[in-house]
Amino acid sequence: MHIGIDLGSRTIKVAAFRDGVLVDQQLVESGFDPYGQAMALIGKYDSGRIVATGYGRHLAAEHFAHEVITEIKAHALGARHFYPECRTIVDIGGQDSKVISLGENGRVVNFQMNDKCAAGTGRFLEIMAASLGFRLDEFGAAALESSAEVGINSMCTVFAESEVISMKNRGLPVKDIAMGVHLSVVNRLVGMLNRMGYGEQVIFSGGVARNPCIVRLLEDRLEKATVLTPSEPDLVGAMGAALYAAEN
């Protein structure tokens, strides 16, 4: 058995492969005791080689993982498994967003991560959804009902939130403001992609890839590229780690 565990800031993901075939997958909230959660998830398997990735990777290595790789490498391996030709990966998780460029052979040649703040991450969308009165899973669909181009100018989450509140108070329709929030995330991302360059296929992973509005806007704004979302976008990192366990 080859097990990959991705200890992210908000959720823990596990993927298990046997003889190159995905045989199990799990996803839980990190909660207050990520280590305990991880142990419980791993406890399900009798034996196997475990590779950890994500923010908690070193903690895992101290206790149970055999090796660690970064999220960057894990996403590269995971994405390539499903899309053997891909050269560009966009990953938006709870606390960070990253763009990874791969060489022809699949090796990481360049990557960028957002700086110290939540803007452009899942957390940003969550905060904005809450202040507009949406559940996170309905936020994207709600925004898609708007055809307006409302701009949110603040890059900082705190300022953006007050900007959103003042728009609400000015009486702007919430769906339009929601669209503006999504646009600000995508514009930021497209900026990163343009700076780095991107391939014909852009693989979109991480929890935010479940948001239909972000996906649509990203497709619209990336000329000459197809945006592809794996069926389990949150699991790409864990799968990459499991594949690494199998290879090494």
């Binding site: 970064t70 999220e71 090796r107 990481v108 040649v109 991560m113 110290k116």
Partner: protein, 456 residues
């Protein structure tokens, strides 16, 4: 366990001795930065608060430095320089001061220390590398300026740096805006003079520069009431050239694989270069280099040949800023070069020693200083070439560009360094950060991913 000092914060001298011993027992490595509370009190320092900083520095140093394996034996001298950073070295400087010689504080490698040394004085770098003094600075300075400037200002404002308390005056410069405007505010706390450093390197800029060097010389002479002779200056030029040569030798040895010394240790030595007595310092660096030469011949290193070799390029890392080196080396890399003012930019150029007449000497001195390739100049393309040159000579496998937050000139010049790396196919990572620990997790991920990229 909480350190005792947190419970008994204000009683000075007597308690300190106990604390010192306590710490000795608590620290697994038995390392401590020595306390000199009476001397600090005489220097009008905030003794209780400073003593906490002293203890913390000792703890951090013990953890980051003394836990390293395969360290060269001759690092002992530099360990001791850290241990005596707030004591022994200050005592020496006060001895010099008693004789009426100038003690000058500076913030930039453009200020010619040769002139201070020629006057028999001491030139000390006051750049701040600690987050601890930033809250003091932010009481008055804006938050969104370079942490090095804030840290340095905070050390003076909080009276928590014995070097700052010892200097006769500070000689600033007009390099970046953050520094240039801070001098006006700093002048309220300590006499602060400013050298006008031009922004370009044309003939008329050089003419101005020489005048500024002469003004600096006059100010130094004013303190000791004695004119600097060309004989004195020739001697000082030799002394500082020798110090720079010793550092060049150390840098050359780091090109060996396996690397004979860690990047952290080398950075520390480059930092100590800004406060140690220059003749002794050069001697000790050379003694260390002798040991490193033996290591290289024997094929011994601090870490195996498989460790990725990284060159760091960018803004200076002032003591005790070891953040990036520590992250890189904890992740299994070895740093082999610092293209920085606390690094090669400080010692790559020497002054022509052939001149015997004052005006010619000052010409030669100015010519040397004008070769420093700081991003505050425009254009500054020679730095891009220099980075590539050092990348090759250090046999590095990747470049990490380091820019302090809000340092516009380095942050913008980073574009050219990145383009050069892309063109040359050099693995490259650019980091912009300050002294706070909050981004360490993310930096660790980026650095580890960078090393994965190099390892393939």
């Amino acid at each position: 366990m909480l350190p005792v000092v947190a419970v008994v914060p204000v009683v000075a001298a007597v308690v300190d001795v106990n604390l010192t011993q306590e710490e000795n027992n608590m620290s697994s490595k038995n390392f401590e930065v020595k306390a000199y509370p009476e001397m600090w009190a005489e220097l009008d320092m905030d003794v209780p608060r400073f003593d906490k900083a002293r203890q913390m520095l000792g703890e951090v140093y013990g953890k980051m430095y003394l836990s390293q394996v395969n360290r060269p034996e001759k690092m002992a001298y530099f360990d001791n320089m850290v241990s005596e950073i707030f004591g022994g070295r200050i005592k020496e400087m006060l001895e010099v001061k008693k004789t009426g010689k100038p003690i000058v504080g500076t913030f930039c490698v453009y200020i010619p220390e040769e002139i201070v040394v020629a006057a028999g004085g001491v030139c000390v770098g006051l750049c701040g590398g600690s987050a601890g003094s930033i809250p003091d600075a932010e009481k008055i300075l804006p938050r969104n300026i370079c942490p090095m400037v804030k840290s340095a200002y905070g050390f003076k404002a909080g009276r928590i740096c014995p070097y700052f308390q010892t200097v006769d005056f500070v000689y600033g410069e007009t390099t970046c805006d953050a520094k240039k405007k801070t001098w006006e505010i700093l002048d309220r706390l300590v006499p602060t003079y400013v050298m006008e450093i031009p922004q370009m390197k044309k003939a008329r800029d050089r003419a101005l520069w020489i005048e500024e060097v002469k003004d600096f010389k006059a100010k130094v002479e004013e303190v000791c009431n004695k004119e600097v002779s060309s004989f004195d200056l020739a001697g000082a030029i030799k002394v500082i050239n020798n110090k720079r040569k010793a550092l060049q030798r150390l840098t050359a040895l780091r090109a060996a694989s396996p690397a004979p010394i860690s990047g952290k240790d080398a950075l520390l030595i480059e930092q100590i270069a800004f406060y140690d007595e220059p003749v002794r310092f050069a001697e000790k660096v050379n003694a260390l280099c002798d040991e490193l030469e033996e290591r290289v011949v024997a094929g011994e290193g601090v870490i195996g040949v498989e460790a990725p070799r990284i060159m760091v390029s960018g803004t200076p890392m002032a003591l005790p800023n070891w953040k990036i080196h520590n992250l890189l080396e904890t992740a299994g890399a070895v740093v082999v070069n610092e293209e920085s003012c606390i690094g090669t930019r400080y010692f790559k150029d020497l002054i022509d020693e052939q001149q015997t007449e004052m005006d010619r000497q000052l010409d030669a001195l100015t010519d040397r200083y004008m070769q420093i390739d700081c991003s505050c100049f425009t254009p500054n393309d020679e730095r891009v070439e220099q980075v590539l040159k050092e990348y090759r000579s250090s046999k590095a496998q990747g470049i990490l560009h380091y820019s302090l937050q809000f340092c516009h000139t380095y942050n913008i010049e980073e574009i050219k360094i990145r383009e050069m790396c892309e063109k040359e196919g050099i693995p490259y990572l650019s980091i912009e950060t300050d002294y706070s620990p909050e981004d360490v997790g993310q930096l660790q991920t980026r650095i580890e991913a960078f090393l994965e990229q190099i390892r393939g």
